[in-house]
């Protein structure tokens, strides 16, 4: 298992390195003036010149790369064009909100998706299964603005029972009241993200459960007369969960994409909304920083799911296999 985790860690480092390199290259190799992407043209010429030196823009590209990595390691992602704050500060203010949204989405998707998928697998081709399949097919490639608009229209406009934006109704309160307020605001964004993710999880749980149920060892256990629920729960479940957990890791990337749109529409103050605002303000340092942060977030979440998978999958736990 140690070997497996080391390999995954190395791959994670490589992923982060590639996203750093991509960001670096985008700025410098695109048909746009790299300087204007990093140094706010509205600053005074002296400050601009100094920032140019700080970024090493007069030096050859490989040197710039080294300086860039050095700055990254110091936590320096540059200054926001809009607010002149360090990008790192801005990002850190927003990150917890995005993490909150992703957490609630993940938990709800798994809590609903796995049981539904497994139930559908056990009742293959029944009415239940067919309905589930239709819902999954429709939800899996859902267009987030549409579903958010539908929710806002119904719950916000027509019924008026849920807030239509923000994470809380200002001013931010304290204690339990604040918690409830945030929770109320979180319902629609979470529900929006939940649909697509849950559909994916149902699909994978159902399919991997079907595969496992077909396996000979299950038929053997059933033939031996073992209680059906016991067979399912103990033997099939663990193995069926492995692809599902794996796909959760892979889903992170697209979940982030969904979060960007969701936060934008619901004015949820996370990194996604920040990206939207920065695009409109042409605040490039923040954009780049946001991409890097999101990449690192996804990588970390992947490592966590890998840890869970390695606990579940005996091939990895005991070493030997090329899992």
């Amino acid at each position: 298992m140690g070997k497996y985790l080391v390999r995954r860690l190395l791959k994670s480092l490589l992923t982060v390195f590639i996203s750093i390199t991509l960001t670096f290259l985008i700025i410098r190799l695109m048909p746009a003036d790299p300087v204007s992407l990093m140094v706010d043209p509205k600053l005074s010429p002296e400050v601009q010149a100094e920032m140019r030196r700080g970024f090493g823009l007069d030096k050859p590209v490989p040197v710039q790369f080294v300086i860039y990595i050095g700055n990254l390691l110091k936590g320096d992602l540059g200054l926001s064009f809009k607010t002149r704050e360090p990008v790192t500060t801005v990002l850190m203010q927003r990150l917890p909100w995005t993490l909150l949204l992703m957490f609630t989405t993940l938990v709800s998707s798994l809590a609903v998706g796995i049981p539904v998928g497994i139930a559908a697998a056990k009742r293959r081709n029944s009415h239940f299964d067919r309905i589930v399949n239709v819902i999954v097919t429709l939800s899996i490639s859902i267009f987030i603005p549409f579903i958010s608009f539908a929710f806002l229209y119904v719950f916000g406009y027509l019924l008026g029972i849920l807030p239509t934006g923000g994470a809380y109704t200002p001013p931010p309160g304290h204690g339990f009241a604040y918690f409830l307020d945030v929770a109320r605001h979180a319902v629609l964004p979470t529900l929006t993200l939940f649909l697509g993710n849950c559909a994916t999880i149902i699909l994978y749980s159902r399919n991997s459960m079907l595969d496992v149920l077909k396996e000979d060892y299950i038929r053997t256990a059933a033939a031996k007369g073992w209680d059906d629920r016991y067979v399912t729960r103990v033997h099939a479940l663990k193995n069926a969960l492995i692809p599902t957990v794996t796909i959760t890791g892979l889903m992170m990337g697209s979940m982030i994409g969904g979060a960007i749109m969701t936060e934008t529409i619901y004015a949820w103050p996370g990194v996604g909304r920040l990206i939207y605002d920065s695009v409109n303000a042409m605040d490039y340092p923040v954009l780049q920083g946001a991409f890097l942060l999101l990449s690192v977030t996804v990588v970390v979440m992947n490592i966590l799911t890998d840890l869970v998978v390695s606990k579940l999958d005996p091939r990895i736990r005991l070493g030997g296999g090329k899992a």
Binding site: N125, P145, F149, G156, G253
Partner: protein, 284 residues
Amino acid sequence: MKRSPSKRGFVPAFKKNKLGMVGLVGVALFIMVGLAAPLLAAYPKGYGTELYMKPSLLHPFGTDGLGLDILSQIIWGARTSIYVSFVAVLLAFAIGVPAGLVSGYFKGWAGGVIDTLIDVFLTLPILPLIIVIAAVIGSSIGNVAVVIGLFSWPSLARVTRNATLRVSEMQFVEAARCLGIKKRAILFKHILIVIIGPILVNLTLVMATSVLSEAGLSFLGLGDPTTWSWGTIIKKAWDAGAVIDTPNPWWWWFSPSMAIILYVVCFNSLGNAINDALNPKSRD
């Protein structure tokens, strides 16, 4: 002369799949509408006279905040969508298939490197990356289509690689080597024609998701302001407060959303039907 099931089955099996046939028809319709857009509707621009009109005979999908006919916008949006889909598919195919073939056939380090690259790109959050690139290089529809296409290759490469790994071990590949067939012909002729099925399935997926990405980008303001796209229509509706303010012209954002959903569902159904027809013994 016997007939083996896997070959006999495809077209009849596909035809049996009602959802797939519907998807096929839908896809064909979208393509035709998109190509024939100039013949079907006037290019919506400027101002109209009747703002926020409900759907009626004159304007089957209503009019928007500038008085422009929404149906025309949707027709021209279809044109954008199929443009983006085809560019994405071309790029994904041109990059992803060779990468998958090489990675699956050659067991050396080249295969491993490509495989790792595929993993890395599948992990990265692609939308933020595309946003950054689009923000930097400017968002003409050509740029957007190319950028989306450039990042569609990993999933196709993965599918191609997995299929190639399975097929490379088969005896007809060994026979081809023995018969002196060159490596390039083995990869791009022998292996490719056998694995074309899953590749096609993945390509339908790419066509669907590329339009979702483009719509998302347009919605976030990175779309091409000079072309009509379904995402742009929705953005305009959102900016004008059409969703939660009064008056509430829900039809403004409803029909472009339906267009997107239908487009995606048609391509997904088509892909699923092809997949099921290729694997008669599959899960159902």
